[in-house]
């Protein structure tokens, strides 16, 4: 990727383009000078995202005093250059080169698609008559669900090859043969059977349509484009969504987007057809006598309001609860928690951060004073060492994964802590294949190794850290040798990783659910923070503790107060109460409030009677599904607000509010690096569906609290957030429309905060190291349950599969799979594709086996994307001590072959 221009007072270059003087900043190319001068030349091999190679030779210019003509795109601009673009021989050469390309290019392509770069160049030069009137020979490959290949239209610009190498780092496109016989081919028998990850970067850069979106022929070309933020993971890529006749037909990356810099992944770019899926629920529904029936909004709202009001009256406000949504905007989550606190009068509000990164937030808050990721994705390019702990970014956060891969290609050291040999592990300097559930001893041993060799950052410790002695005593016994026995990682490897992280500064830590979804989830994150504090890797560029948030707005949902003990802006009830009570003109309940898992416990005890779940399929995603089903069945009222009839709705729903997707509404999301970015309506909400914010306001009105929910548009809600939360004050929609801003941003002239804790910590000038004692998982393996099952996600499907499961991504990954190492499979007599039953103490699931040498013996890995497989039937009931996050990553199971 192209590096950002160097800031500061760079010297300027004085040049002349066709006789006209101009000045440009240092670091510019001749092409920049031409563009500044308004001189347009075709640049068929050029893409801002790629290292220029100057091979199409269409942007050739002459520099006075230089012997050879040079390509503008790849030639650095020098002071005093006098550039000529319109000499006769240059024009001739340009025309000849285009004519040469036209001679073997089929004419029909140009007619069909005149806007492609090459076609534009042909038309601008009036060379239509030179085009080949017959069909050209060239391999056509229609195997991939998203990418159509027609190499008869290839003009050998190598942009596809280069973008696959330089941006995605996948190296799918190979060049075969040479000269005019050059062929661009995938690294497999077909693109579908190649190592392609479907990011679409090659399609995006292709100037001809040799590579094109397969959906174009089915859905047609877009007539209007709208920029918005991706509805999938917490990376927060900015994308441009194309619509035609009220329907989404295409997605393109936004080139100057701060997070994705012109890149997207297969989900963001291609998996958009869920929006108009056949089974989208478009009418409000009420269930009577076990049957759903469609109804009007009025009736559904009145019904829900009456039932909720009744339950609150009968059992008290703490008998009901609301779940905000990681799929909904900040504005909507703000309203959801406000509804719970103001309308219902309870702190029983939560969101799905509970089951993923609540431990990260808790540990960061406890150690550093703010429960937010400390740095930015831009630090990936600065870091010299990257520690990836319990995260699989190339599958689950692919754009960040690609940036990490490129950083490693450029020489960054990579440490991967993961039980599986994930893609990044194969590129890593050190792969610590830790036994599931033993992060705490491993990280303690790394701290031990750092302290033993005195690799700490003394000055940083003296200036900013307390509790070093106590902490050192807590890890004294955790020699790498002892940890090696517990974790299954070689002691020397632990030492090597510790040394790398401590000495090859700056070192950046990136972690995921492999660290948090354990009984010691919060403890694990605390230890990761300790490593950063010990080595001074915090508060600086290229460092920090960076949780990769799973969903587009899970960070925002929690940050907006969808947690029992958190008010908007992550304010504690103690500190924030006064401000919010004054604004809302209501007393905020003083009870602690129940989080999601406690709601389930209370329901089983008969103390909890109603749940309004917004964009959240609790039944499918909670661990230990059978217990969740029992809890949910015990409820008197379940209001489901979603796009589809989720498992929760199907099993236990009472009322269904049809919501719309983020592509049908306005608002903001907050990504993993605290960046607030605009979400914009691309198409009108389908059918009777409404944005979540409207539904919340409608229900509040139906319950007699309309005056506090009188919003006409999301901006008004956001302005209320800005008025009440100092960190959001500077982020007006007017500013956000020009680009995202990182929280906190307290005033309109504040640039946003890319790195937290620069000079002092949110809690004070000094942070404290917290020692952690190891508690083994209670999921014990033995003869009856010999395997450890680890659950997680995969590239082509997203979480519960609600969205991706309704797109052609299903062709790329049709089912959840049980990954098993070949030796274990052999012992059990299982081969690839056999169906097996996984049985735990809590339940069982049946799914196909895939042999995967990256999985260690005695361990299994499976995804939870397929509702019909329902993997969470097998996950257990153990929880993180501090936050209640379920232990999704460790379940003792056995595997049986099914008939």
């Amino acid at each position: 990727m192209i590096a950002a221009p160097v800031a500061g007072a760079a010297p300027t270059l004085s040049v002349e383009v066709n006789g006209a003087p101009d000045t440009l900043p240092a670091g510019a190319t001749i092409l920049d000078a031409l563009r500044a001068a308004g001189v347009h030349l075709p640049t068929l091999c050029h893409d801002e995202r790629l290292t220029p190679i100057g091979v199409c030779r269409l942007c050739l210019v002459r520099v006075q005093g230089w012997a050879r003509a040079v390509p503008a795109c790849s030639t650095p601009l020098l002071d005093g250059m006098r550039i000529e673009t319109n000499a006769r021989d240059l024009e001739d050469a340009r025309r000849t080169a285009l004519t040469l390309l036209a001679r073997r290019y089929p004419a029909d392509g140009v007619e069909r698609d005149p806007h492609k770069e090459f076609h534009r160049a042909i038309l601008e030069h009036g060379l239509e008559r030179e085009l080949l009137q017959a069909s050209a020979p060239g391999p056509i490959d229609r195997s991939h669900p998203y990418i159509a290949v027609d190499m008869s239209r290839c003009i050998d610009c190598y942009r596809c090859v280069r973008i696959c190498d330089e941006v995605q780092g996948q190296f799918v496109w190979h060049v075969r043969d040479r000269g005019l016989d050059t062929q661009i081919v995938p690294d497999g028998p077909s693109l579908f059977e190649s190592s392609c990850v479907g990011c679409g970067a090659c399609v995006d850069t292709c100037p001809t349509g040799a590579l094109d979106d397969a959906a174009r022929s089915r859905l047609g070309a877009a007539s209007a484009w709208t920029n918005t933020t991706c509805p999938y993971c917490g990376v927060g890529c900015e994308m441009s969504v194309g619509a035609r006749d009220g329907r989404i037909v295409a997605v393109k990356p936004v080139l100057d987007a701060p997070v994705n810099k012109g890149h997207l992944c297969v989900k963001g770019r291609y998996a958009f057809e869920f929006v108009g899926a056949d089974d989208r629920v478009l009418d409000p529904m009420i269930r009577t006598g076990g049957q759903w029936r469609c109804t009007s909004w009025d009736e559904a709202l009145t019904f829900a309001a009456a039932r909720l009001g009744d339950l609150v009256a009968r059992h008290g406000p703490d008998s009901v609860g609301v779940l905000g949504s990681a799929r909904a905007t900040n504005e909507e989550n703000y309203l959801a928690q406000k509804f719970a606190r103001v309308v219902l009068g309870t702190n029983n509000v939560d969101c799905c951060a509970r089951v993923c990164h609540a431990p990260s937030a808790a540990a960061l808050k406890h150690s550093l004073g703010t429960g937010l990721g400390t740095n930015s994705f831009d630090d990936i390019e600065i870091a010299r060492t990257i520690l990836v702990c319990g995260a699989n970014p190339t599958e689950n956060h692919p754009v960040v994964g690609a940036r990490i891969k490129q950083a490693v290609r450029r020489g960054a050291a990579l440490i991967v802590v993961d039980p599986r040999r994930i893609e990044l592990a194969s590129l890593a300097t050190c792969h610590l294949a830790v036994r599931p559930g033993t992060n705490v001893p491993l990280l303690n041993a790394m701290a031990h190794a750092i302290l033993a060799k005195d690799l700490v950052d003394r000055r940083f410790l003296e200036a900013r850290v307390d509790g070093v002695e106590t902490f050192a005593r807590s890890v004294e016994a955790w020699t790498p040798e002892r940890a090696a026995v517990v974790c299954g990682v070689d002691a020397e490897l632990i030492r090597r990783a510790a040394r790398l992280y401590a000495t090859r500064a700056p070192a950046m830590s990136i972690h995921g659910l492999g660290l948090t979804e354990h009984v010691q989830g919060t403890d694990g994150v605390t230890l990761l923070i300790n490593l950063a504090l010990l080595t001074g890797n915090i508060g600086k560029p290229g460092t920090g503790i960076n949780p990769l948030r799973g969903q587009n707005n899970v960070q925002g949902a929690a940050h907006m107060g969808c947690e029992p003990n958190t008010l908007p802006g992550a304010a504690s009830p103690k500190d924030g109460r006064a401000v919010f009570e004054q604004a809302w003109k209501r007393e905020i309940p003083s009870t602690h409030g129940l989080h999601l898992l406690h709601m389930m416990d209370a329901a089983l005890d008969g103390r909890f009677n109603a749940l309004w779940t917004i964009g959240y399929d609790v039944l499918l995603t909670n661990a230990n599904a059978s217990e969740t089903v029992r809890a949910m069945r015990a409820l008197d009222l379940v209001i489901v607000q979603d796009l589809f009839l989720t498992e929760t709705a199907r099993e236990v729903g009472s009322v269904f509010f049809p919501a719309c997707s983020s592509l049908e509404k306005d608002g903001t999301f907050m990504n993993a690096e605290r960046r607030i970015q605009r979400v914009r309506q691309v198409v009108r909400p389908l059918g009777q569906s409404r944005p979540d914010w409207r539904i919340i306001c409608d229900l509040a009105r139906a319950m007699g609290h309309g005056e506090l929910f009188d919003f006409r548009e999301p901006e008004a809600i956001w302005n209320e957030v800005r008025a009440l939360c100092e960190g959001a004050r500077g982020m007006s929609y007017a500013r956000l429309d020009r680009g995202g801003l990182q929280w906190p941003c307290p005033s309109e002239d504040h640039p946003g905060t890319s790195i937290l804790h620069r000079d002092s910590f949110a809690a004070g000038p000094r942070a404290v190291l917290h020692g952690v004692a190891y508690q083994p998982s209670r999921e014990s393996t033995g003869p009856e349950y010999p395997f450890v099952l680890n659950t997680g996600r995969s590239l082509y499907q997203f979480n519960a599969g609600t969205m991706t499961g309704r797109t052609p991504n299903n062709a790329l990954r049709p089912s959840d799979l049980l990954d098993m190492c070949p030796d274990d499979a052999d012992r059990l007599g299982l081969s690839e594709g056999d169906t097996a039953r996984v049985i735990s103490r809590y339940g069982s699931a049946v799914l196909p086996v895939r042999l995967n040498a990256g999985v260690q013996p005695g361990q299994l890995f499976a995804t939870f994307h397929t509702p019909s497989i329902f993997l969470n039937s097998t996950t257990g009931s153990h929880r993180d001590g501090a936050t209640g996050t379920p232990e999704y990553k460790v379940a003792a199971v056995r595997v049986e072959r099914t008939a």
Partner: protein, 453 residues
């Protein structure tokens, strides 16, 4: 037979017939001795004395010496070797490399082949001295894919050099470390272009890079690199052994040292001839190679491999030096003299060479990839008697859009046979078009090799 200082090597299998010698040959003196390629033989003939002397000097002193010797690159461009070494970026914190270009692929050129096969230690010694001069510890010899048997000779010689301590750690106890590796190409003409060679060495496709930056600054693995031809490096030990002044005096001004000339085509005695660049082209062709066959007349000479303009019979009194041939309107290039007598059809020649260039174009840049194909198609049409007069203008205009417009010099090389034959033999083209056939007697016409299509 031969007159002045000439050493003749007939390139017929491995059998060399004895020539008459007046000047002492330096590079090829012993090539007919049965054991000339062994270390023992080499050591008996001043072997590795140059390296010993070089290691007693500072790198800068070696560079100065090579500069003073007037040694110019033998790969084709004739760039002063000492200056090339001086340009190698000394401020870079990265390692530096010597890359020896042994991809000898230019049509009509076969001198490096001989040197490596019969005098491999001379090259190895040259590599080691070059490493010392630029502060490198590693030299890569990028050898042409087809030179399999030559590679085996070179490998054996490198093994011998390691065993004797001329390569490896602490050479001559001087603290100088030097490794020499052979990397075999996969058979592509373009791999001989210096940046394409570096790409290929890095394991990528042999395609050229944009220059600047030049390899001296950003070369192999993005490190400063000097790329030198085999014959160039083979001359370096001579300079160290005998001094820069001695070397410079062997040739005309700025064209120091001995030179290998490859003479092929319609001559009586084709072969590699070692001579001073004070010779004229005519002396080489008529004196050494015996002139054209009986009863034939000389029609034209391509003096520097297939990529340079032709010289006519009246231009052959030019000095066979880099500057002399340039003054005559061509280039010495790789010193591959291709001699053509009156049986050669110039349209056929151009078609034949463009077939080569079309086949060897790497395909990276548009004008070369597409243009060589178009040129070849037009030439084939004319050669078959199916051309039109307007095709001649088309040939010129396409060539004009390739020349100076491509990424590397390949494009300029590829259009040269077209432009030079059009310039001197336009009437032959016109005759083909007018008559619908070649006007030379049918029995003279060259046949296409069976495998060439």
């Amino acid at each position: 037979m031969c007159t002045k200082g000439i050493h003749v090597v007939f390139f017929v299998s491995s059998c060399f017939r004895g020539p008459v010698m007046i000047m002492e040959p330096l590079l090829t003196k012993y090539v007919r001795e049965p054991n000339c390629f062994t270390l023992d033989f080499y050591l008996k003939h001043e072997g590795y004395e140059g390296l010993k002397k070089a290691l007693a000097l500072t790198p800068d002193q070696v560079v100065e010496m090579v500069k003073a010797s007037g040694l110019r690159g033998r790969g084709g461009a004739g760039f002063p070797t000492g200056m090339k070494w001086q340009f190698v970026d000394k401020r870079s914190p990265n390692p530096r490399y010597i890359a020896c270009n042994a991809d000898e692929s230019e049509p009509g050129t076969f001198k490096d082949h001989l040197l490596m096969e019969r005098n491999p230690h001379l090259l190895i010694e040259g590599c080691a001295i070059a490493c010392h001069a630029i502060g490198a510890r590693v030299a890569y010899v990028y050898i042409r894919g087809e030179f399999f048997h030559v590679q085996r000779v070179l490998e054996r010689a490198i093994d011998e050099a390691y065993r004797a301590g001329f390569l490896g750690r602490n050479v001559f106890g001087s603290g100088f470390d030097c490794d020499v590796y052979i990397h075999r190409g996969a058979g592509a003409y373009e791999a001989g272009e210096e940046t394409a060679l570096l790409e290929s060495l890095e394991g990528k496709r042999a395609q050229p890079r944009n220059k600047p930056p030049f390899p001296a600054v950003i070369g192999l693995y993005n490190c400063p690199t000097a790329v030198n031809n085999v014959e160039t490096l083979a001359n370096v030990p001579l300079i160290l052994r005998n001094g820069a002044e001695w070397f410079a005096a062997l040739g005309p001004e700025k064209n120091g040292g001995p030179k290998l000339f490859c003479i092929s085509g319609h001559v009586k005695r084709p072969g590699v001839y070692e001579a001073s660049m004070t010779m004229t082209l005519r002396e080489l062709i008529e004196g050494c190679a015996g002139g054209v066959r009986e009863g034939r007349t000389l029609k034209a000479v391509i003096p520097g491999g297939s990529s340079v303009p032709m010289l006519m019979p009246d231009q052959l009194d030019a000095q066979a030096s880099f500057d002399g041939v340039q003054k005559a309107g061509s280039l010495l290039g790789s010193a591959g003299l291709i001699v053509l007598d009156d049986t050669a059809c110039m349209v056929w020649l151009a078609e034949n060479l463009l077939h080569f260039y079309r086949h060897e174009s790497c395909g990276k840049c548009t004008p070369c990839r597409e243009g060589t194909d178009w040129l070849h198609k037009i030439l084939r049409r004319i050669e078959r008697g199916e051309g039109h007069m307007r095709d001649l203008d088309l040939l010129s205009s396409i060539s004009g859009s390739i020349g100076g417009k491509t990424l590397c010099a390949f494009g300029d090389a590829a259009i040269t046979p077209v432009l030079t034959t059009l310039k001197h033999f336009r009437h032959e083209y016109e005759a083909h078009i007018r008559e619908g056939r070649c006007t030379l007697p049918a029995s003279w016409r060259a046949r296409h090799a069976a495998g060439a299509r």
